[in-house]
């Protein structure tokens, strides 16, 4: 028997087609996923972890999409969520490492899966910055955000952003062996 020969409740069958919401969610993913993964990669230095963060970020935002008051602000919320999740990730990592006799799971994963850009000194140096400094530097100079936009993403003041950036760049200069010329 073919499935379309079967009498089914007509009203409910009519409700099956995909909603606009789902189509829009897929469009948002298509538009922003690549950029999101790249940002997360800059913040974590690890492709696999970057995808995990992006997955979480999309899931959170798509789940809350009906709460977003300005859908056109989706990229902003996505960026903010990724930054926040990366900070949470590093906090968790710090806790793991502070526990005696506890294997540093993340480090093991790093080893197994391979940090693909170990050879990139600058990316490596970025990873050694404290998370907020790293986020500020990445947002300002890799993402090209203004001080104000960076402050909005980090939910802080522009003064604090300037301070974070200044300290971050200073550390990077030291790490990069004084190649900097102002």
């Amino acid at each position: 028997m073919r499935s379309d020969d079967i009498p089914l409740s007509p009203m409910r069958a009519a409700e099956v087609p995909m909603t606009r919401r789902k189509r829009r969610a897929a469009d948002l993913y298509r538009q922003h996923a690549a950029h999101a993964v790249q940002l997360a990669y800059l913040l974590t230095g690890d492709r696999y972890r970057a995808e995990d963060l992006v997955q979480d970020a999309f899931v959170r935002l798509l789940g809350r999409f009906h709460d977003l008051r300005k859908p056109e602000s989706f990229p902003f919320y996505l960026r903010r969520t990724i930054v926040n999740l990366s900070r949470d990730h590093f906090r968790r990592l710090q806790r793991e490492r502070s526990l005696p006799n506890m294997p540093t799971q993340s480090a093991e994963i790093d080893h197994q899966m391979g940090r693909i850009d170990d050879r990139d000194e600058l990316l490596q140096a970025l990873q050694d910055l404290p998370p907020r400094q790293r986020a500020a530097v990445v947002l300002r100079f890799c993402e090209g955000l203004t001080e104000h936009e960076t402050a909005e993403v980090l939910e802080t003041s522009t003064g604090a952003v300037n301070s974070l950036v200044s300290r971050g760049l200073g550390t990077l200069r030291e790490r990069m062996g004084g190649v900097e010329r102002d």
């Binding site: 028997m1 499935s3 379309d4 079967i6 089914l8 409740s9 009203m11 409910r12 069958a13 409700e15 099956v16 087609p17 995909m18 909603t19 606009r20 919401r21 829009r24 969610a25 897929a26 993913y29 298509r30 996923a33 690549a34 950029h35 999101a36 993964v37 790249q38 800059l42 492709r47 995808e51 992006v54 997955q55 899931v59 959170r60 935002l61 798509l62 789940g63 809350r64 999409f65 009906h66 709460d67 977003l68 008051r69 300005k70 859908p71 919320y77 050879r119 990139d120 600058l122 990316l123 530097v137 990445v138 100079f141 890799c142 993402e143 760049l169 200069r173 990069m176 190649v179 900097e180």
Partner: protein, 536 residues
């Protein structure tokens, strides 16, 4: 701009060329998003407070007058709504048009400020996104209030208990202090959510304030309006599994529950254990060795390509999947259980099918028994074909390159692929053509010292700005690591987005592990020689 800042920009550019989402990420996102919707629907208040019967709230509200005992659900075209706010001075109300959406998808809105023109519940032209009055919410003044009521679960079957949604009676009252810690929310908006089973329906009401700190007066005003919410009793329920265009005939001793979370894809839970919650958690936990649980979930992630089949569907031994998570909810089966998973599509309706046994080694008779039940599954075709992802179709126009000695070039090497098309491939050996969406056949045979270059053309990419003009100075930087790309087998490759003659190409290079510098340089020259005349 300092050198360091320039280096950071270059790092960003390198990463944009080499880091892209894996093909699996989209599936992971959309599956998790669905689970998240489910969990979100069940979060919220848990304090059960009975607030007294108030059937008067219904009087005069519904066109049909005071609803009688639970009866058949309103038919399409009915003019009464199952969810509404009683009209009151100073309040504006909107309700779903029952002629446009099913009774169980009803919504009701109320606000003490006018709704902007065109903002109306589902069925109207402005039902995006997700059928919420976002314009009203955005424009809410500090003393503004907005209430949005909707049914969370849609089902014809008896509703099992919901821990976070206690039985409540009308009129409803605000129980939780409005707060602002909602992700993605404007900090100047406070809201509170009230979930409950009301009149046999799983109801959720969101109350939003135009200020982050609403005072007692404003909360009281909102509560008065909440008290005017009317909910018609749920229609009579049935044990039959026949809804959403899905039907299954269950054996005598089996239990089933077919439902949808807030209009998302339907889920069917069926098995030998009673349905005691909406998460199938207890049914899984309580499985005895002879027990089985079936979960069938429609899954319109549609980024995934599920195997098209003709019914009946059956689980097979190769579908055993100990590491699978049911509906990706983070819980793999108990070690003493066996979980089977199969994805399929019928008439372009995609489904995930999970079957969990209470034993790690179910016998053939147990599999047969489940397959007998699955054989009764009937699926109606969708009313309209599911939307396709938009495809980029680049005009077919030739390209040409200088082919190094000993290399082999083939046009249209993946004839069956969907756009964007692989227009040509060049390898150091006589490679096979074909693949699902990339030159996978060729890549499977990539010699250890070989190389394969292929060109993917995009018509009008979203990220056109990432494509740079192919320059004579181009050189292959082996320091940039290869990556795994969608539609490129398991072989890592380097990818370069180039613009040539106004056309956009992803140029891929896959190198064998023992490829020599000479081979790399040949590939480089080949790429640099790309000529792509305008199709005009």
């Amino acid at each position: 701009v300092t050198d360091l800042e320039r280096n950071l920009l270059e790092l960003r550019a390198r990463i944009s060329r080499s880091v892209t989402p894996s093909p699996e990420l989209a599936d992971r996102v959309f599956r998790r998003a669905r689970v998240r919707r489910v969990l979100t629907a069940l979060s919220g208040l848990v304090v059960a407070v009975a607030v007294g019967a108030a059937s008067f709230a219904l009087a005069g509200v519904l066109d049909a007058g005071t609803p009688g005992p639970a009866g058949p659900r309103p038919e399409e075209g009915s003019t009464s709504s199952s969810l509404n706010f009683e009209p009151a001075l100073g309040w504006h109300v909107r309700t779903t048009d029952p002629g446009k959406v099913g009774d169980l998808e009803a919504q009701a809105w109320a606000s003490n400020v006018p709704f902007p023109p065109g903002e109306e519940p589902i069925g109207g032209p402005t039902d995006y996104p997700a059928n919420v009055p976002d314009k009203t919410e955005e424009a809410l003044p500090p003393d503004g209030i907005l209430l949005v009521a909707n049914f969370v679960v849609q089902t014809r079957n008896p509703l099992p208990s919901v821990p976070n949604a206690p039985e409540r009676t009308l009129p409803l009252a605000i129980e939780e202090e409005p707060h602002t810690s909602f992700e993605g929310q404007d900090p100047d908006r406070a809201q509170t959510v009230l979930d409950g089973i009301v009149e046999g329906r799983y109801l959720s009401v969101r109350v939003v304030f135009g200020t982050s700190e609403p005072g007692a007066d404003l909360i009281g005003e909102a509560e008065e309006e909440l008290g005017r919410l009317a909910v018609a009793p749920a229609p009579a329920t049935t044990e039959a599994i026949d809804d959403f265009g899905i039907r299954m005939d269950l054996p005598e001793a089996w239990h089933g529950f077919l439902f949808s979370w807030g209009g998302s894809e339907p889920i069917l839970q069926a098995g030998t254990k009673p349905v005691t919650d909406l998460y199938h958690a207890s049914a899984r936990r309580d499985l005895d060795t002879d027990d089985v649980l079936i979960l069938l979930a429609e899954n319109y992630t549609y980024l995934a390509d599920y195997e098209p089949i003709a019914l009946p569907v059956a689980i097979r031994t190769e579908d055993l999947c100990p590491t699978c998570e049911i509906l990706d909810d983070g819980t793999s089966p108990h070690v003493d259980h066996a979980l089977f998973y199969r994805s399929f599509s019928v008439d372009r309706r995609p489904f995930d099918l999970y079957v969990e046994f209470g034993t790690a080694e179910p016998g053939d008779d147990q599999l047969a028994r489940v397959n007998e039940v699955l054989a009764t599954l009937r699926i109606a075709p969708p009313d309209a074909p599911p939307p396709e992802m938009p495809l980029e179709v680049a005009p077919r126009a030739p390209i040409s390159v200088d082919v190094p000695a000993g290399w082999v070039g083939k046009d249209d090497p993946v004839p069956s692929s969907r756009p964007p098309r692989v227009v040509a491939a060049y390898g150091t050996w006589d490679f096979d053509t074909g693949g699902d969406c990339g030159p996978e056949r060729a890549l499977q045979d990539l010699p250890a010292d070989g190389a394969l270059v292929w060109f993917v053309e995009h018509a009008d990419p979203d990220n056109a700005g990432d494509y740079i003009e192919l320059m004579p100075q181009f050189s292959i930087d082996l320091q940039t690591p290869p990556a795994r790309w969608r539609c490129a087998s398991e072989a890592p490759s380097r990818m370069y987005p180039f613009r040539v003659g106004g056309r956009y190409f992803d140029v891929h290079l896959a190198l064998g592990l023992e490829a020599t510098d000479a081979t790399v340089r040949e590939a480089e020259e080949l790429i640099k020689s790309l000529r792509a005349p305008s199709p005009d």
